[in-house]
Symmetry: C2
Subunit: 345 residues, 2 copies
DNA sequence: TTGAAAGCGCTAACAG
DNA sequence: CTGTTAGCGCTTTCAA
């Protein structure tokens, strides 16, 4: 075959033109047959469909997007994916959007603000129909880019702050308050906040802040904080707990920034000879399936990941349709299990 | 000129042409300044960079991809994402590819073959530089599309079978054999396979098949199988275990298709008054962080998720660079913990 | 109901 | 080193 493509692939993919030629009509008749079938004579439509099928035509979105007014890409930026709650959000989001012929283009900033800006730029270069991004606290450059682009943007997971456009998420300060209030209600008095807190993880800071405020208002000794910029896993939990206990042996209630860290804290407490929930209560944030099956079963806050994904998708669709920006607060719930005592009357 | 102050959806994004005009050079000089800086006079380059900056230029990939020989998209199809091991694979893959300026476009088939084909088609419509897809057993239409497209394709996670192009993954039959051999070595004699097995999950079938073969060869009673097409979670594990025990009370060794299911099986066994590992051994597949922190800590097979992601990325890069297809078998390991007895001498 | 013509913003020859 | 000239494959007027 004539050599019109060197690099990858064998023969060039069939184009609208090759289909048109085969049927003996013009390019844009085929284009219309695809986008507005009712504007083409049924008999012709059938012949075109047959040719499309025979040639195994796959449209070229690059060309379509360039020529048309908008591409059907939605850029999605998460801060992590690996066994994180954001996987569920992306999962739901992607599935919902695809039903409306919107393709998700994914980026993972790994909690790196610089990387986040790079990603936003890269994603914006696809002229997306919309953007979705975890959090409301971004690299200033990223915020500027997003704002200047005019692309509808949904900030997910967190709604504390000034959204760029729309936001669908939770009030993390309120969650932190609820965590502290729960521990206090269970009779714990010397509280700590433990976990992995990445530089860019402002949600964690908001939760810790909410907890600290409640504790101060209750007149208790200030919240002890033991965090690390490392990724949150059980082994980090064990280490942080050891450090915490060494410094604050009086601690009797621990707020973990993630369930994974809590698993390690639970084991560390046992190793230190402290009974849970009698001597020390533990509450966390996340609630993957495993948490209810831990011994003791972990008390934790469960965010509605699917709801955030679904509502974000709806918001994106609405914004694309020209509706106004939205700010949606999504529910979460405190799962009271065995790692905290029953609340006192 | 319209001022740079109207924020939303106002002016069109700056183009190479607008930058060129501002600097007083031709469009393609700016293009070259971006792609091959050394071919442009340093002083000019500086002025161009300044204009790029001032106008806040974001390239248009749609145009670039159309005009150039290939787009920098890599299409990725997974069968699930929600708290699945594939999240880790995608995570690593995306991060690695981005370092080479390749953008991941994501699709989730949710274990639906029909959906998988749709996704492959949708992704192919971006004229990707490469494709990556979970598994080697696809909708025949998807396989055809992929093959016909000539796009380098890496099948991940599984290497049993005839790859379309390249494959990076594990031998799941071997894993199944290892699971059964482990249970037998620990002295368990009446084995069962329990878990969620979706219609499209051929990996699970291969593992079960491998286990069944070992059991037959050992002359033991045949593998009891208790599966469901539902998603795999602890509660499913509890239900499947109840059904299994009702039918096969003699069971003393259980292979769970996923760790999440095993959590439920562990609890169900306890509820049924069977001690683990004394009366019944449990082994699973997956090994998320939580498993080592279960009581009893779960014996399971740990796949090298990051390795699969990393090697897949390398393979994609190599294929794009024109190297030959690869078939890479990636390691996994059996984590012997407390849910199975010590192996007998 | 269909076709012709004009780009979308960029890259890729080739000149100059 | 830089500019000119053609498209990439499609959508979108506007005519016919």
């Amino acid at each position: 075959m004539a050599n019109d493509s060197i690099p990858l692939s064998g023969r060039p993919a069939p184009t609208l033109a090759s289909v048109a030629q085969r049927v003996g009509v013009s390019v844009n008749t085929v284009s219309r047959a695809l986008r507005a079938p009712q504007t083409v004579r049924p008999e012709l439509k059938r012949r075109i469909d047959a040719a499309l099928e025979e040639l195994n035509y796959v449209p070229n979105r690059l060309a379509g997007g360039l020529a048309g007014t908008r591409s059907n890409v939605v850029g999605v930026v998460v801060t992590s994916l690996f066994y994180s709650e954001f996987a569920a959000v992306v999962d739901t989001l992607q599935t919902q959007l695809l039903q409306h012929d919107l393709q998700v283009m994914l980026g993972n900033s790994r909690y790196d603000l610089q990387e986040e800006q790079r990603l936003v730029r890269a994603l914006l270069s696809w002229r997306p129909a919309a953007m979705a991004i975890i959090g409301v606290d971004h690299h200033p450059g990223a915020t500027d880019l997003l704002r200047a682009s005019g692309v509808p943007t949904v900030e997910m997971w967190d709604i504390c702050g000034e959204p760029i456009d729309s936001a669908v998420g939770m009030d993390h300060e309120a969650i932190g308050r609820a965590q502290a209030e729960h521990l206090i209600a269970c009779g714990y008095r010397h509280l700590a906040f433990v976990g992995s807190v990445r530089a860019a993880d402002t949600r964690a800071r908001k939760r810790a802040g909410g907890a600290a405020a409640v504790i101060e208002a209750a007149g208790l000794s200030p919240l002890a904080v033991e965090t690390s910029p490392e990724g949150g896993n059980p082994s980090l939990g064990e280490r942080l707990l050891a450090a915490l206990l060494a410094e604050h042996p009086e601690i009797d209630g621990i707020i973990c920034n993630s369930d994974a860290v809590a698993y390690g804290v639970l084991r560390g407490l046992e190793a230190a000879g402290r009974r849970v929930p009698e001597d020390c209560g533990v509450i966390a944030f996340g609630d993957p399936e495993a948490s209810a099956y831990m011994r003791p079963a972990l008390t934790t806050v469960r965010p509605s990941r699917e709801t955030i994904g679904r509502v974000s998708a709806e918001t994106i669709l609405a914004r694309i349709a020209g509706e106004a920006p939205r700010r949606v607060s999504v529910d979460w719930s405190l799962q009271h299990r065995q790692s905290t005592r029953p609340a006192r009357a």
